[in-house]
Symmetry: C3
C-alpha cells in the first residue's frame, strides 16, 4: 500500500460513492445492518485512505478543536485506545465520562447527561455491552437526546454516536476484522465464496458478550462469504441476528449455516474465528437478576455457567483442527484465552496463537482507522473534497 502515489490515492478518493456518502452523512454508527453494503464499503475505503495519508506523514487533522466524549460502561483497553487514536488523528480531544461501571442507565439521567457532556462534542463513543436489551437501547436514547438537544438549540452541533460495543453488535470490531480479511484477500470482490468459521470456544470465564460473534455473522454474510457458525448445545446467539445473517447470505449469494462442532465449521475454512461467549439465555437471565439487585442469585448463576462451560473444554482451536482447514488464517478480537499462557486451558492452543500473532495484531491495527472513518463519514458534508484537501495541502503530521 505504501507504494501508492498521490495520484493513486486521489483515484481511491474519487471512487468513494457519492450516494453512500450522502446516506452516511449525519447518521450514527450503531449496527452494521443499519447501513447498506455500499455504505459499509465506503467507510472501509475511507479508513484505507486515512491510513495511506498517515503513513506518508500527511496530516489527517480536520478539526482545530472539538471534543470526543467516551462513555465506557464496561472495561476496555484496545477499543479505548482505538477511539482515542481515531479522535487524535482528526484533531479531536477525548474527554471520558466516568460514571462507574455496570449500571443500567435510566430515563431522565440519560437524556440530561447526553446533553450536558456534548456542548462541544463532535462524537460520543459508547461501550455498553453487559446487559441484553440495554446497551443498544441506551445508545438509541443518547442519540435521541442529542437529536432533540440540537433541534432545541441546546447543542450547536449534533454529535455522532459511535457504538464501541453494545449487547447486539460490535461494529468497530467487525469492520476492522473485515478490513483485515479484505486486505489479506486482496479486495472486497475476492471475498466471494471464501469460507469463514465463527465458532464458540472454551474459556474458564463467564459472561462474555455476544456482540463479537453476532457482529461477524451479521457483517461477513453481506459480502458473499460462506459463513459457518458453530457452538455447543445451549450457546445460541440472539435469534433475530441469526435470522438476519441467513437473509444477508441469501441476498449476497453467499452462504450461512450452523454447525454442531468446531471441526465441521473449520472444514475447508479460509478464516477461523474461535471465541468464547455466554449463552443468550444466560445473558438474559443475568440482566433480569441485575435489575433486582440480588447478589446471591448472580453468584449462583455464575457458578452454574462455569460448570456448564467446563463440559466443553474440547472446543479449543488446536493445530489438529487447523489442519482440517484450507490453510485458514486465525482471527480474534483479542485478548484471547491462550492455553498454558493466559490460562490453563482456553480458546486456543499456544502454538496456533503464536503462529498468527502478527496478523492478529495487524487485524487490531485497523480499528483506529475504521473509527476515524466512521466519524469523518458522519460529520463531513463532502468527504471526497475533505480528503482531497488533506492530500493536496500535504501538511506534515510531524515537523
Amino acid at each position: 500500500m505504501t507504494a501508492l502515489t498521490a495520484h493513486d490515492i486521489h483515484r481511491l478518493i474519487d471512487g468513494l460513492s457519492a450516494g453512500a456518502l450522502e446516506e452516511l452523512r449525519g447518521r450514527d454508527f450503531l449496527l452494521t445492518w443499519d447501513k447498506s453494503r455500499e455504505e459499509l464499503e465506503t467507510v472501509l475505503q475511507i479508513g484505507r485512505v486515512l491510513k495511506l495519508l498517515r503513513t506518508t506523514n500527511v496530516s489527517t487533522r480536520v478539526y482545530d478543536s472539538g471534543l470526543g466524549v467516551s462513555i465506557f460502561r464496561d472495561n476496555s483497553t484496545r477499543t479505548r485506545f482505538s477511539f482515542a487514536s481515531a479522535c487524535n488523528m482528526l484533531g479531536i480531544a477525548v474527554s471520558d465520562l466516568d460514571e462507574g461501571k455496570s449500571q443500567i442507565a435510566h430515563g431522565e439521567t440519560v437524556r440530561e447527561t447526553a446533553n450536558m457532556v456534548s456542548f462541544m462534542a463532535e462524537v460520543v463513543g459508547i461501550r455498553d455491552d453487559m446487559y441484553i436489551g440495554k446497551g443498544h437501547t441506551y445508545m438509541l436514547r443518547v442519540a435521541e437526546a442529542l437529536e432533540q438537544g440540537h433541534r432545541d438549540g441546546v447543542l450547536e452541533q449534533r454529535p455522532t454516536v459511535v457504538n464501541l460495543q453494545c449487547d447486539i453488535d460490535h461494529p468497530t470490531q467487525s469492520m476492522a476484522d473485515l478490513l483485515h480479511v479484505l486486505t489479506e484477500a486482496g479486495g472486497a470482490e475476492k471475498l466471494r465464496g471464501r469460507k469463514v468459521a465463527m465458532t464458540w470456544a472454551y474459556s474458564p470465564s463467564y459472561g462474555k458478550p455476544l456482540s463479537v460473534p453476532q457482529g461477524v455473522i451479521g457483517l461477513f454474510t453481506r459480502f458473499g462469504m460462506d459463513v459457518r457458525l458453530a457452538y455447543p448445545e445451549g450457546y445460541s446467539l440472539m435469534p433475530d441476528v441469526v435470522e438476519k445473517a441467513g437473509k444477508f447470505a441469501a441476498e449476497s449469494r453467499g452462504a450461512f449455516r450452523i454447525c454442531g462442532s468446531m471441526k465441521e465449521a473449520f472444514e475447508g475454512a479460509d478464516f477461523v474465528y474461535p471465541k468464547s461467549w455466554a449463552p443468550f439465555s444466560v445473558m438474559e437471565e443475568r440482566t433480569a437478576i441485575v435489575e433486582t439487585g440480588d447478589r446471591q442469585k448472580l453468584q449462583d448463576l455464575e457458578k452454574r455457567c462455569l460448570q456448564n462451560n467446563a463440559r466443553f473444554q474440547d472446543w479449543q482451536c488446536t493445530k489438529e483442527l487447523m489442519a482440517g482447514t484450507n490453510g485458514a488464517m486465525y482471527l480474534h478480537c483479542l485478548p484471547a484465552d491462550i492455553s498454558g499462557v493466559s490460562c490453563e486451558r482456553g480458546e486456543v492452543a499456544a502454538d496456533v496463537f503464536e503462529k498468527f500473532r502478527t496478523p492478529l495484531y495487524r487485524q487490531a491495527s485497523w480499528k483506529p482507522y475504521v473509527i476515524a472513518a466512521m466519524i469523518l463519514a458522519s460529520r463531513m458534508a463532502n468527504v471526497r473534497s475533505v480528503l482531497s484537501t488533506l492530500l493536496d495541502r500535504s501538511d506534515s503530521r510531524v515537523v
Copy 2:
C-alpha cells in the same frame, strides 16, 4: 444571535470596556463579588462573542499548546465537561489532578502541589465545595503559591485560578445562569426590577453545598433585580453572603428580601430557582466532625439531617405554585431531584420540569463559554485585539 454579521461582532468586541479588561487581566476568578459589575458584564460579553465565533465555525484557538489543570475535590460531570470544553475551545489540553475525594488539604502539600502541576499550566480549575471555611481558603492558598512560584522564577507563567465551586460561591454556575436569564430577558438593562425567587426545595439527600444559592443571591442582586430568598426555619445561608446580597441590592437599586415560604417568594416572580441545600450550621458541624475523623458522629449527623429535611417535603416546585408567578421561567443548576422520576418526592414536580427542560439545558450550555471567557479575560493582555484577530483571520474550526 446567529444572524449577526462580522461587522456586528466587531462592534460587540469594540464595546468591551478597556478599564474592566485591565482589571480582569492577570486576576483569578474566585468570587463574583471580587469583581465590579462592569467586569462581570465584560466577561459575559466575551462569552457571547466566543459563542458567536464558534457557531460560525471561526476557530477560537488562542493557544497552540498549554495545559489546563483541573482539581475536583468533589464529584462533577457538567462542570468537568464545561471546563474541558472551555479549555479545548482555546487550545488548552486538560490534565486532571486526581487526589482522591473529600480530603481537607493542608499547608505545605498545597503549596508544593500547586507548583508541581503548573509548570506549563495556563489555568487551574478547582472544585472544593464540601467543607465550610475550607474550599475558598484552599483556592486562595493555591493562588498564593502560584503567585509566589512565578515571582521566584519557578513558573514561567502564573496560571489563573478559576473557582469551579467552593464552599461560598459557584461563579461559573451563577454567571452562566445570569447569561441565560439576560439572554432570555433581552439584555442586561432588561433585568432591572425583574423578580427572581431563589428558594430552598426538598430533596431526599443530605449535605448539598450552599454555593449555588449564595452565588445566585450574590450576583443577581447586582443587576437591579428583585431577589427573594426563601427557606424553612434552620436552613439559612452564610450570614456574610446574605448581608452582601442586601448591600448589592441597595447599590443597584434592586431589592432583596427573605421570605418564609416558597409561595411567598414565587408571587409574581419572573424567574424561580428552587433548589435543595444543607443548613449552614449543619455544614459547619460536619466540617468540624470531618476534621476529627469520627465516622459515627458523621452518620448520626446525616441521619438527624435527613429526618429534619423530611419535615419540609412540601417545599416542592409544583404547577400550583408556578401559577402564582408572573409566568416565571424555572431555573436549576442540574441535576434536579424530580418527583416520581429521579426520586419519589423531590425539588420539582415532573410536569414543571418537563415543561422547562429545553430552557434548562440551554441555561447549562452557557457554562463552557463563561469559563472560556474567564480564562481569556485573565490571560490576554489585549482581549479586544485577540478577539478581532480571531474574527479577521477566520480560521475554520472544522476543515
Copy 3:
C-alpha cells in the same frame, strides 16, 4: 538565560553533537548508563533550548497529532504532570493506560498490550518502581514488543519508551537534578570536583524505591563530581549500581565513597540530597512475597521495617548538619517528609526545607523539559534542523 538572543540560541543548537544525536536517534531512554556522557549532555542541552524557546513564546510543537501513552504502575503526581507537560509542549496528546496499581506484569499480556495501545503512539512513558527485578525488565519487554510490532508492520512507527522510574533508575529525575545543579554551578565544566552527598534519611514510611539514590550516584559520578553515599547499616543499594558509580567516578576523574554517617558525607559538601529509601534486601523480600500473594507476610515485613527504620531517626537533615557543609544547596525529588510539617519527624528539618523551597521547586521545573528533550532526541532524524526551524518560523505559542 532569558536575555539570550535568537543568535545565541542558534549557537546552542549548532553546538549539539552530531554523533551523540545519531546515537540517541530511535533509542529508548531507560537507564542513564546506557548513554554516553556526550549523549547525556546533548539531551540536557536540548532541554535548555526548549526552555529558551518556550519562555520567549516560540511554539515548540513538532507534532500536529500523535499520542503519548502513560503507564503508571505506581502513584505519581509530579512525574505524571511532567510527562503530560512534555507531551503537550511537543503537540502530543496523552492517553493513560490504567491497569490498576501494583501488579507484576507477565508475558503475552505485556507484548499484546504494548502493541494495542501504540498504533498512533510516539512515546510510551512507564513508571514501574515497586518490585526489584521487575520494573526495568517490564520496560525492556515493552520495548521489545514495540520493536517487533514495528518490524512486523503492526505499528507504523516504533514509539520511544521513556523510563518514568523503574526499580533501578529514575533518569527523568536524575537528569532534571543534574540540569538544576549544572545551571546553579554555571555549566557542566564547573561540576568537576564539586562535592555531592547522597544520603539516606529517616522517614516514618516504608518501601520507598531505590531508584532515586541509584539514579543520582550513577549519573553525578559521570561528571567528575565527588560523590559520597551514606546510609545506616543494612540500607545498602543494589550492588551492581554501586559498583558502576565507582567505575564512573574513576573514568571521569571524580570520586565516589561510601560514608557511615550523614555528618561525614555532608563535610564540605556543595550539594546534599538526603532522602529515605528501603533496604535493597527488604525490597527483594517484598517482591518475592508479592509474587506469592501472602498478605500476612507483607504486613509482617512492613511492621518489621518500620521498627528498624525507627532506630535511625537521627538521620535527619538539620541546620546543624548543614553547618558542616560548604554552604551546600539542599536537593530533593519531592515530596519530602518535613519534620513537624508533613510528619512528626522526617527527612529534613522545617527550617532547612523552608530555606531551600524555591531552588527545590526550580529543580523540579526542569523535568518537563528533560522529558521533552528525551522524546525529541529519540524521535527526530535531524534535531538541529528541527530546533532551528522552530526558532526561525517563530510561531507564537500564545496568539
